[in-house]
């Protein structure tokens, strides 16, 4: 569970000026010196098709992919920057599309998600570049990649009443705060009250 005092802390961070965020960022940025350059990001294609058979560079690796602390920071930013309001706790979607599935409208590679946050997207995603520095955005990417790792039992998705599919649901956020919600599932609820843990 996320300690309530931690939540206060994230809001307090939000309340600080952007300048403060930028300052605190510098220390982090020095540690993680390997953020992709603007030139690299400019080359990132949104979709998978290339005219003329030309080859793009391989996808940029998430510089923080394997850092549990980055994923944890990403979860805090997801709440404090109100991402959670649109995309829902654990990224189930609502005003904004679900991030809990493995599919992303504007690309699922880390750099795609990074650019969707920074630039915004025309159908409702606001552009965060002036509010979120690179390191916070990469933290968010790490968290979003974590919550999007839905279990895959087949290539497509079957929806059915009998036999029932999907068969599982996540333990809901009001009962468990976690960076890995797909590691905590229970039988699909059919609109009934979730079992209390």
């Amino acid at each position: 569970m996320l300690d309530p005092s931690l939540r206060h802390a994230t809001v307090a961070i939000l309340a600080l000026s952007l300048g403060t965020i930028a300052t605190s960022r510098q220390g982090v940025a020095e540690e993680a010196a390997s953020f992709p350059s603007p030139e690299q990001l400019l080359q990132v294609p949104v979709g998978p098709t290339f005219p003329g058979g030309v080859r793009f560079p391989p996808p940029i690796k998430d510089p923080e992919a394997d850092d549990p602390a980055a994923i944890q920071r990403g979860m805090q930013a997801f709440v404090s920057m109100n991402c959670v309001g649109c995309h829902a706790p654990n990224g189930g979607g609502g005003m904004g599309p679900a991030l809990s599935e493995r599919t992303f409208i504007y690309g699922r590679e880390p750099a795609n998600i990074y650019l969707s946050i920074q630039q915004g997207r025309p159908n409702g995603m606001p552009a965060w570049a002036k509010m979120l520095p690179a390191n916070v955005t990469w933290d968010l990417v790490a968290y979003i990649r974590s919550i999007s790792s839905a279990p895959e039992t087949q290539w497509g998705q079957t929806t059915s009443r009998s036999p029932q599919s999907p068969t599982i649901q996540q333990v809901p956020a009001e009962l468990l705060t976690t960076t890995t919600p797909w590691a905590h599932t229970e039988p699909f609820g059919d609109g009934r009250k979730p079992s209390m843990h």
Partner: protein, 659 residues
């Protein structure tokens, strides 16, 4: 206020007076009243084209639309009439023959999201509007109401970003009509006037800003030449208002905010709230932490009623923001408040907050049905408000006094309404504590009933109520305000209420304070309702059934399995062929059903502000849709002779080939 006017030609410009009105007092319409309706509709049929040809007639009688709404052949405003009865005196379709209903024609509005809009029917033309999706968001279509032939369409210039700040799917609840003009609200905050005959744009006015989280979803209402429009965005910290536009120019005549200083709320010397705790200066500022009213919600995305005799409009304001009530100590006036306002100036006459310091997102934008009822031996001018908080309020509409407030669904959040103060009595066990999960809060965030409007029949004297039956887990969290982003601060997880059903369609006896019959539905009943003089009530379900039931017994008369779930508003009218038609849009969406139409994960219960918990299995029953369905009785209408190709297609035979 259900009344039938004696006949006056609409062009004489006279106001209706008490002496010209007949109040329906008996359970059954007398033959005299029936014939009045027939004569009235005949006059309207003659005069309606004159309206259409002079769209901006400046000397038009202010009561034209009121009179027009009494013509049962048409359906000229979303709530049917200013009293919001949604009762039609047509009776060709009745409890005895409704089983013979069948499809007459259909039309696709081309946008597969929640279809909440009411079609309008004016002068044998049907006007429908699509949700904010597809290649032409909020496109308006004019169709021949008898044949379904497309006359024109109008596509506003869209800003796709609007869908990113619309809390609960990209819905619209409909259009408005007056004086030859159709009025459209777009999700991205434009009000547009369109020539009803040609589809030509007459004016457009921008009313709000997406970067402040504002959108518009409600159906406008035109009263005395003013287009009344409220904003949406109670989940984005939007400061709510109701705005009146001049219907001929689109210029703002007045704007009344729901919170802030009295000068902004249009509270002046003639403001006379009934309860003492509502008296005082600038309560819309003082009942909040410093400045919090500026991002405090109180939007207006529901229904407006109008009483011509009192010259008052009635509507309710939405929830305070954020949902996390711990961040806004105080009564948070004037959110979740029923307002009575002078329609000419917007000045508030009385106000009644139903959920002061709202804890659970219980907006009170639901319809206010204006009725003249005999209560304890006295004829009272009342409004009936089926509240989101689960109580059926009967309120004196002249004074704002609550006459009664009876629970109509399972309630744990409160234990009753104190009639001395007008305040609900809160259940301390369910009060939100920051960071703590509160279980079994009933009704859930969308309330016992949301925007989906009721209908009232003067024949049965029953109110027909479509509603949900849900409880929730509710856990508050601190949230910071960032303009244009959600301002919620709650993890919500809804589920079926006691008994396991998630919705209900029921008939409520307003004077006896009780349910007369109820139909339990598996899913929340999110459509509006229509009731007719044929004693048939209509509603639809999320699992794709459109139903006709006996208004007296609730017995199922007929049902139709459609392409997508229903969240729309059924209407009825008479075609040029003399047949009675019933129309509704099919297409799942809106807050409860976006999970079946949008990219939302049914395995994540807190998705869609927690509604997914309650409707996560809906994708097993339906996907999105966009189909207008129009029904009539088999064999009804003037004989059409042998079928012929209405579109000019010609059959070529073997002889033609030989030539």
């Amino acid at each position: 206020m259900y009344r039938i006017a004696k006949i006056k030609p609409p062009s004489n410009g006279s106001d209706e007076g008490e002496g010209t009105l007949i109040t329906i007092a008996s359970n059954v319409l007398s033959n005299h009243v029936r014939s009045s309706i027939l004569v009235l509709s005949g006059l309207i049929a003659l005069s309606a084209p004159a309206f259409a040809q002079s769209p901006a007639a400046p000397n038009a009688s202010p009561t034209n639309l009121d009179i027009l709404s009494r013509d049962p052949n048409q359906w000229v405003m979303a709530p049917h009439d200013y009293a919001n009865t949604r009762f039609s005196s047509l009776d060709q379709i009745n409890a005895g023959n409704a089983a013979q209903l069948h499809l007459a024609w259909t039309f696709s509005v081309g946008a597969d999201r929640g279809q909440e809009a009411a079609p309008l029917i004016v002068n044998n033309t049907m006007y429908v509007v699509a949700p904010y999706a597809g290649p032409h968001p909020n496109q308006v279509f004019a169709l021949d109401a008898t044949t379904g032939d497309l006359k024109w369409s109008y596509a506003p210039k869209p800003d796709g970003a609007a869908q990113g700040v619309a809390c609960c799917d990209v819905v619209t609840r409909g259009l408005a009509y007056d004086q030859g003009k159709i009025f459209l609200n777009t999700l991205d905050n434009y009000s547009v006037a369109i020539d009803a005959n040609t589809g030509k744009e007459l004016w457009h006015t921008k009313l709000g800003d997406l970067n402040e989280g504002q959108t518009i979803t409600m159906a406008p209402l035109v009263v005395k030449g003013k287009v009344l429009i409220g904003n949406s965005g109670g989940e984005v910290g939007v400061r709510g208002w109701l705005t009146a536009l001049d219907e001929n120019t689109g210029h703002i005549a007045w704007r009344a905010y729901s919170a802030g200083p009295d000068s902004d709320v249009l509270i002046g010397s003639d403001f006379k709230p009934f309860y003492d705790w509502l008296k005082g200066k600038d309560l819309g500022v003082k009942s909040w932490p410093p400045g919090a009213w500026k991002t405090g919600g109180g939007t207006m995305w529901g229904w407006i009623s109008y009483d011509p005799a009192l010259n008052l409009i009635y509507y309710g304001s939405g929830n305070p923001g954020p949902w996390n009530s711990n961040q806004r100590p105080g009564d948070n006036l004037w959110t979740t408040t029923i307002f009575a306002r002078d329609v000419d100036t917007g000045a508030a006459r009385w106000a009644l907050p139903l959920n002061p310091h709202d804890l659970f997102d219980h907006d009170e934008i639901n319809e206010n049905v204006l009725l003249d009822l005999e209560i304890k031996g006295q004829l009272r001018k009342v409004l009936v408000h089926p509240a989101r908080n689960g109580y059926m309020y009967v309120i004196d509409r002249a004074t704002g006094e609550i006459l009664s407030a009876d629970p109509y669904d399972h309630i744990t959040a409160t234990t009753g309404v104190d009639l001395k103060t007008g305040r609900p009595i809160e259940n301390e066990e369910k009060a939100p504590v920051l960071g703590k999960n509160i279980e079994d809060v009933c009704p859930a965030a969308p309330g016992a009933k949301d925007w989906q409007p009721t209908a009232w029949s003067p024949r049965t004297k029953l109110l027909y109520v479509p509603h949900q039956h849900l409880c929730m887990n509710f856990k508050t969290a601190q949230v910071g305000y960032i303009a244009g982003t959600p301002f919620v601060g709650a993890e919500v997880d809804m589920y079926a209420g006691p008994g396991g059903n998630r919705g209900e369609f029921m008939a409520w006896d307003v004077t006896e304070h009780k349910k007369v019959w109820a139909i339990r539905e598996n899913f929340p009943v999110w459509t509006g309702t229509l009731v007719t003089a044929g004693d048939v009530a209509f509603y639809g379900t999320l699992d794709r059934w459109f139903k006709a039931v006996d208004a007296r017994s609730g017995a199922l008369l007929w049902q139709f399995r459609a392409g997508s779930g229903f969240v729309g508003q059924p209407v009825t009218y008479k075609g040029a062929d003399g047949a009675q038609y019933v129309a509704i849009l099919s297409g799942a969406g809106g807050w409860p059903a976006a999970v079946a139409a949008a990219k939302i994960d049914p395995r994540v219960r807190n998705a869609a502000l927690g509604f997914v918990g309650a409707t996560q299995d809906l994708p097993q029953y339906t996907s999105g849709g966009s189909e207008l369905l129009v029904f009539k009785l088999a064999g009804s209408g003037a004989p059409q002779g042998n079928p012929s190709h209405a579109n000019g297609a010609q059959l070529e035979t073997g002889n033609a080939h030989a030539q």
